[in-house]
């Protein structure tokens, strides 16, 4: 996750509190989705950005996961991201994100 995005997330947590926030990812593959999820749960794994060593423990989902789909009006979801079900490896992405989400909730 790039440094300015990390900075923005850190600022939002400071402003609103971690309990008020949920992170939605749009990463196109399991590796980058996993890294982004790890960053907002356990901290920046590259130790290069503002979230290095910062365990925010934020709840994190990928936009293609079922939980998100259920929370969005069907026609909006279909228009905005539905096509990506045929494009991306959704199961792999969901597994990568879930791994870190579960660590946030334990």
């Amino acid at each position: 996750m790039d440094l300015s995005t990390q900075e923005t997330i850190k600022r939002l947590v400071d402003q609103h509190g971690a309990e008020s926030l949920l992170v939605v990812l749009g990463a196109p593959d399991a590796e980058s989705a996993g890294i982004a999820a790890e960053t907002v749960v356990l901290g920046d794994p590259s130790w290069a950005g503002p979230l290095a060593g910062v365990q925010l423990g934020l709840p994190v989902y990928h936009v293609l996961e079922d939980e998100l789909r259920a929370a969005v009006p069907a026609e909006v979801w279909e228009e905005q991201v539905g096509l990506m079900l045929d494009v991306l490896e959704v199961d792999d992405i969901a597994d990568a994100v879930r791994e870190f989400r579960e660590q946030a909730s334990t």
Binding site: P28, E31, E79, Q80, L83, M84, D86
Partner: protein, 475 residues
């Protein structure tokens, strides 16, 4: 007025510039603070022979079609019979390229060590384009590099670490004319000039027949009162001897070549000019952009080449592929910003406008960034993602089934093979392949699409995109 505009000829060039890679935007900001990283960077620069043999470069220069590339990895391999001079153009070595920059430097910005200047002048004198180069200017660039550096000039190296020259700033108070900006622009001018000279020579084009020259390069020429004001188009036209040409620049981040082609074709069909050149030089700031990912994976610094392209757009000659101006796709303001919606605007919409189906297009050329460059830094395989999205749109339109996505991509797509010189990777690098496929090859339609990231400039949250459909003449 002509009924249609055609693309008559295209040239592509690369310049292998590993010594300039340390001056790319990312390395220039990262390396000075880290001696160990600098050592590793310099130790991972490629040789010229490695750059020539690199299969993706040979596909770029036309030795093979991208679909004929061997399976990856390409790093560490060399294409059999690879040559510097290839069907679409050439890959110029760095010492010659420094000489070329000196040859097109009209303001004595670049000073070279006497040894480098002499070597560059000698090698360029044997170059097929030597008659068109100002070799006296190369020799005259020889000078006191240490003195230039002492007065604040930017050191310029031949790889891996040999001081070869210095680039002077042009104005102490003007941030648009500092040395590193002028280096970007001079490198862009040199690669654009090389591409245009190749176009003229390789395709027998009369330079006096060109009425207008449009640059779609990414760099910004200007001063503090008009940063990015231009005009690289006429600049390069003048160097290449297009005596009857005027010119201007079209800007749209990586997408710029497609609107430039649409504008050029429109000028031709409207009867304003009979022949228009669209060209672009390379992007020096993007050298070494993803080097940290490459070093992390034990790869060489793969972003070590500058690219250039020159395209000749003319009135219909009855042979060359036609530009379908009735099927220009554009990412509209009213469209959403999702990847699927952008690609819908750039593929489905223009094809529907002429009653064509997605499967009527033989080749789709999209952002063709080489995944071997992008994946190690976490950017994924951009081309593959675009192709799967285009195929998914075909599924939605019930032209293919979901099970046929893979074959659609294999048949009508291709592996990314272009260096991450954004504007060249964004489809225009496929143009010479498209010309071959649409004339002597079996293809009838090729669609080129490009996207530009407007949000990078912090003036708009939007992106943009445009597509152009080429059709076999008489088809």
């Amino acid at each position: 007025m002509p009924e249609a505009a055609v693309i008559r000829a295209v040239s592509l060039v690369l310049a292998h510039t590993p010594g300039l890679a340390r001056l790319g935007s990312k390395p220039a900001r990262t390396l000075p603070a880290d001696a160990e990283l600098t050592r590793s960077f310099l130790a991972h620069l490629r040789s010229f022979d490695d750059a020539v043999g690199y299969p993706a470069h040979q596909a770029f220069l036309g030795s093979c079609h991208p679909r004929e590339l061997p399976p990856r990895p390409w790093v560490g391999t060399s294409m059999a019979g690879a040559q510097r001079f290839a069907p679409f153009g050439e890959l110029m070595p760095e010492d010659e390229f420094l000489g070329l920059m000196a040859a097109v430097d009209e303001f004595d910005l670049l000073v070279l060590t006497p040894e480098v200047a002499e070597r560059a002048a000698k090698k360029l004198a044997e170059h097929p384009l030597a008659a068109h180069l100002d070799l006296a200017r190369v020799s005259a660039a020889a000078g006191d590099v240490d003195a230039a550096l002492a007065s604040g000039a930017l050191p310029v190296h031949l790889a891996p670490d040999c001081l070869a020259g210095a680039l002077r700033g042009a104005h102490e108070e003007d941030e648009s004319l500092v040395a590193h900006i002028l280096l970007e622009n001079l490198a862009c001018k040199a690669t654009g000039t090389l591409a245009l000279l190749r176009l003229l020579q390789d395709h027998g084009v009369d330079p006096a027949g060109i009425g207008y020259t449009i640059s779609c390069s990414e760099e910004a020429v200007g001063d503090r009162y008009q940063r990015g004001g231009g005009n690289m188009g006429k600049t390069i036209a003048a160097v290449a001897g297009l005596t009857e040409s005027s010119g201007a620049d079209v800007k749209n981040f990586c997408a710029a070549p497609i609107p430039a082609l649409v504008i050029a074709a429109s000028l031709v069909v409207a009867g304003v000019f009979e022949q228009v050149v669209v060209l672009a030089g390379g992007s020096q700031p993007k050298l070494g952009m993803k080097f940290e990912g490459h070093l992390r994976h034990g790869l060489p610094v793969l972003e070590d080449v500058l690219g250039g392209v020159a395209v000749l757009v003319t009135a219909d000659d009855g042979i060359s592929p036609r530009i379908r101006l009735d099927a220009v796709g554009r990412h509209r303001v009213s469209s959403g910003g999702s990847g699927a919606q952008i690609l819908h605007d750039l593929t489905v919409q223009p094809l529907e406008a002429i009653g064509a189906r997605m499967c009527d297009v033989d080749d789709y050329a999209t952002e063709l960034h080489n995944p071997e460059i992008t994946e190690p830094q976490g950017s994924g395989d951009v081309a593959a993602r675009n192709y799967r999205t285009i195929a998914a749109l075909a599924v939605r339109r019930k032209e293919i089934t979901r099970d046929e996505i893979g074959s659609f991509v294999a048949q009508r797509g291709m592996p990314g093979y272009a260096p991450t010189q954004g504007h060249l990777a964004s489809a225009v690098c496929y143009l010479p392949h498209a010309l071959t496929r649409l004339t002597t090859g079996p293809a009838d339609r090729v669609l080129l699409l490009a996207k530009g990231s407007l949000f990078l400039g912090r003036m708009s949250q939007r992106s943009d995109g445009m597509s152009i459909l080429l059709q076999r003449n008489g088809g």
